[in-house]
Structures are given as C-alpha cells and as structure tokens.
C-alpha cells in the first residue's frame, strides 16, 4: 500500500512473536502429543463406545441448535432490518447477550429455567417434555451461546439489499413468498451459511453452558469437550490429546468451509473490492 508510514517491522514482529507464543506453540504441542499417540492407539481411542457416543451426541445436538438459530436468527435479522417498532434498539442490543455473558452463567441460568420447578421446566414437564439432563438441554445451551452468529452475518447483507429488483418483481405480480425464495434468499445465502457454520463450530466446542444442564451421563448426555476434560482429570493424556486434536480438526474443517463460502460470495459479486 505504501512505504512511507513507519513501524511495519516492529508491529509485524510483535504480532508474529505473540501469536507464535500464545496461539501456535500450544496448538503445536497439542498436535505433537496427538501424533505421539500413534495411529493404532488413536483409532482404538476414537472407536471406543464412550468417545463415539460423545461425538454422535455433540454433532446431533449442534445440528439441532444450528437449525434453531437458522430460523430464529434469520427472523431476528429480518425484523431488525425491515421494520421500525418501539424498543427495536433494545432488541438489537439483546442479540449480543450470549457473547458478553459468561458461558458458566448462561449454563447456570438455563439450569434454573429448565429445572423441574423452574419457569420453563414446570410447564414443560406437564406436557411430558424434559429438557434438563437430556440431549434437548444440550441443544438448548448450544443454541443460546450461538444466537448472534446468523443474526450478525445476515443483518448487514440484508441492509445493503437494493429495493429495485424486489419492487420490479412485485410489479410483475410475484407473491411475497416467491420474491423471498427467488430474490432475497439467494442474495443472503452466503452470509446465512457463514453464520450457520460459525454457530455450528461454536456449538461443537461449547463447554461451560452445557455442563450445568446436561447431566453429563456417559453415553447419553456427555459432549466431546466434557469427555476431553474428564480424560485430563483422569490423567489419560493420550486419550485427551486424541480427542482434542480431532475436535481441533473439526474446527479447521469449519474454518475452511467458511472461507470457501466467502470466496464463492466474492466470485459471485464479481468484484474483489
């Protein structure tokens, strides 16, 4: 960009050194420990019934939480962008609550709400739905902590959407649903998928909010992050390394996916800007 402004060597040096010490060194150590486990032992750890169950539970509840946030997040972004109503500013501020509130506090609050005598737990128990100590509770905790992702990625794109194509379609007699499906949704799709992927990734690694409400029963309501934690407490470091490295692999796959979506979006817009 320029060679006039000073400070590149110093600022770049600080950034690279800090990232190496704080981020890369630990992650490298984790990968090193996982490689040390060896392929056969890794497969044995990962194919164990408890590990398999934890991955199955985590992936399915994260999918459920993401589905909830796809619908609610999209509706929330829509309402914030398209309508004016009293209290809208407060609604917009509330969206960030899950990012600012500590996960342990969120977990504690959810456990109180869904306890048998809680505000939600009581009425739900009467119609036969149990949330606390079930996979539904895990999904609930994951959904709460990842609410902002879809909203905050879709919101700016929806704001920038030009009205003319939509108006032209309406003039030609297209119904609202048809215009949404054919014009609006395709335009926000990349942002929507980015938000959903980020939320899903966050749900896969969630810990604090879940352990308060999940009941944490092996094979039933034990998520991967908790199993990793338990293996550490048992000093079973090879198992902890294997599971944590696998979870790290999932995170990288999700990051790769998000980058692919963004490349696709840039290519579709046609400009790199």
């Amino acid at each position: 960009m320029n060679r006039v402004i000073p400070g590149l060597p110093l600022s770049l040096g600080i950034t690279v050194l800090y990232l190496s010490l704080i981020v890369l060194l630990p992650l490298g150590a984790l990968v090193w420990q996982a490689l040390d486990v060896g392929w056969e032992r890794y497969l044995a750890i990962m194919s164990g019934a408890r590990t398999m169950a934890a991955f199955r539970i985590t992936l399915s509840t994260a999918a459920l939480a993401t589905l909830f946030n796809c619908i609610y997040g999209l509706a929330l972004a829509w309402v914030l962008v398209r309508y004016e109503f009293p209290g809208k500013r407060y609604l917009d501020a509330l969206v960030d609550v899950p990012f600012a509130l500590p996960t342990a506090v969120a977990g504690l609050a959810l456990s109180a709400l869904f306890a048998k005598n809680g505000w939600f737990g009581g009425p739900l128990a009467q119609i036969g739905i149990e949330v606390a100590y079930t996979p539904l509770g895990i999904a609930m905790a994951m959904a709460f902590t990842s609410i902002p992702f879809v909203v905050r990625t879709v919101q700016p794109v929806l704001e920038d959407l030009a009205a003319d194509v939509e108006e032209a379609a309406a003039t030609l007699g297209a119904s609202d649903l048809r215009i949404f499906a054919r014009i609006i949704f395709p335009a926000i799709l990349p942002a929507f998928l980015t938000g959903a992927s980020l939320g899903f990734a966050r749900s896969l690694g969630e810990f604090g909010a879940i352990i308060f409400i999940a009941g944490n029963l092996p094979l039933k309501t034990e998520v991967v992050s908790l199993l990793t934690f338990i293996r550490i407490e048992e000093y079973d470091y090879p198992a902890a390394a294997a599971i944590a490295a696998t979870l790290l692999g999932f995170a990288f796959v999700m990051l790769f996916l998000v980058n692919m979506i963004q490349l696709w979006q840039q290519r579709r817009i046609g400009t790199g800007d």
Binding site: L12, I14, T15, I22, A75, L91, L101, A106, G205
Partner: protein
C-alpha cells in the same frame, strides 16, 4: 369543464412495495421474534437475579462474605488487569501492520489472529497443559528450574490471553482499513515519527472501537470458564476465578451464592452491552457530522 386532478399516486413517487410489508406479515413476524427473544434471551437474565434474591437481600449480600468468593473476585480482577492491557497492545500492533501495509502472508496473519475464536476453550486449556504441564513440552525444564505455571495463576493468565487475543484486533482492523492511510502519510510528510502518529493520529481515530474491543476482552476474561477450568486445577482459595467459583458453589448445593456471584458477571456483561450501544450512537452521530467512519 375542468379536468379531474390526477390521482395523487402519479404526482408522488410510487409507494415502495417490499416483501413482508403487509400488516399481517409484519405483526406476525415482530410478535413471534419478540416472544421467542423474551423466552430465550431475556428469561435467562431475569432468572439469574430471581434466583440470587430468592431468599432476600440479606442472603444475597451474605454470599459475598465467604473468603473463597472474595479471593475469586480479587483473582478475577487481577487476571483482567494483566490480560486486557496485553491484548490491547497486541491488538494495536496487529491492526497497525495488517491495516496499514500490504505484505505476503497478510491474509494468513489475519486468519491466525482470528483463530482462537474458532477453537474450543477446552482445546485451548488442553493445549496449554501440553506445553507447561509436567508431561508437556517445557514441563521437565520448568520443573528443573522450579517454575510453577500449571495449576497456578500464570496458567490462568496464559489461557485467558489465548482466548481473548482476537477481541481488540478484530474491532480495529476493519475500521483502520476503511480509514485508509492518508492522515498517517500527511503526518509523516510533516515530520512526525511512528509513535507520535500512533498517539496523535491513528488512535484518536479509532478510540471508540478500541474501547469497545477492550470492554469485550475484559468481559470475556472475567467470564472465561472452559480454558481456565482445565489449567487452574480448581484449588479453593488459590486458583478459583469467579466462573469456577460459581460452579463450585453450585456443586456444593449453595444455589443462592452461585447465582449471587453470577449476578456480578451478568452486570459486567450488561455494562459492556450498554457501552457498545452508546459507542454505536456516538459513532453514528460522528459519521453524520464528518462523513467518515470513526467508531
């Protein structure tokens, strides 16, 4: 005979017809979203305070007199006091090189800065254990020199540094890119040095984003649970930060105390969000007045 005046639709610009502007869609969507938000986002906040004050003001206040809880408050404040300034410094350095310069590997560097966001705090904790723990990379060397990092305060600080590294940088980078380099270049021509430019030109332009990034970083440091619970070892009155203390109290069946401590962190979160709202309004006013983003 005078002609009928044209209908008003022809003299005014055509009314905007946009999807979902019908009264039914509008009321249904706003109503549903508000209802779900009340259940999903507002109810948990209210529940924390309701549970904390369940046995009255006295029981609430008494929750803070336990020495362990007071120690946890102190340790949490101490951790934030060290971690936030370090990550503010890192955020400024990272934003300076990424926003003001082009170099090979720049995109990779951006990805590295944001990496901690995508990694489970549990993974972060385990990774630190494999560096500084007894069996870790540096474990033997640390033991030889009698340096204790794991299951002690340094580990809590290191894990918090990892988890909150991106917060300030992520607020500053897009804004500093949007602001360009003209003002800095002008300052160079006038003979200003790097530090002077940073202090008098760049930082004043991004002060709101910097403040907000620091506030978010602070809220996250004080509330970090997963990474800290792996590396802290949960030693009562020694390595318990506030979130760990909450879990401990909850497991001890001391629900009122757990929720009382939780109200402290909830207030930190709410203050952070109010600060964000104020900063955004100030910024919107500034953009209107000057026509440039200044966060």
């Amino acid at each position: 005979m005078a002609r009928e005046p044209l209908p008003p639709t022809n003299t005014h610009p055509p009314r905007r017809i946009r999807v979902g502007d019908g009264p039914l869609a509008r009321v249904l969507l706003i109503g549903t979203v508000l209802l779900v938000t009340a259940l999903v986002l507002v109810a948990p906040l209210l529940a924390i305070f309701a549970e904390a004050f369940r046995h009255g003001m006295g029981a609430y206040a008494a929750s803070f007199s336990a020495p362990d809880t007071q120690y946890a408050i102190g340790l949490t404040l101490f951790t934030a006091l060290i971690v936030v300034p370090i990550n503010v410094g890192f955020g400024i350095a990272a934003a300076w090189c990424i926003a003001k310069f082009r170099f090979t590997g720049r995109n990779l560097l951006v990805a590295m800065v944001e990496l901690p966001f995508s990694i489970s705090p549990i993974i972060a904790g385990v990774a630190y254990l494999f560096v500084y723990g007894a069996q870790g990379l540096l474990g033997p060397w640390l033991a030889e020199h009698d340096i204790k990092i794991m299951f002690a305060v340094p580990a809590i600080i290191l894990a918090s540094l990892f988890v909150t590294a991106p917060f300030v940088a992520r607020e500053l980078i897009p804004l500093m890119i949007a602001q360009g380099t003209e003002e800095e270049e002008a300052a160079v021509t006038l003979g200003a040095g790097g530090w002077r430019i940073l202090r008098l030109v760049t930082l004043p332009n991004v002060r709101f984003a910097l403040l907000y990034g620091a506030a978010l970083c602070n809220a996250r440091v004080m509330g970090e649970f997963g990474a800290v619970s792996v590396v802290a070892g949960n030693i009562r009155g020694q390595t318990n930060t506030l979130p760990l203390q909450i879990e401990l109290l909850y497991q001890d069946n001391n629900a009122v105390a757990a929720f009382a401590v939780a109200t402290l962190l909830t207030l930190v979160a709410l203050v952070t969000l109010v600060a964000k709202a104020i900063i955004e309004r100030l910024d919107a006013a500034r953009v209107k007045a000057q026509g440039k983003p200044g966060h």
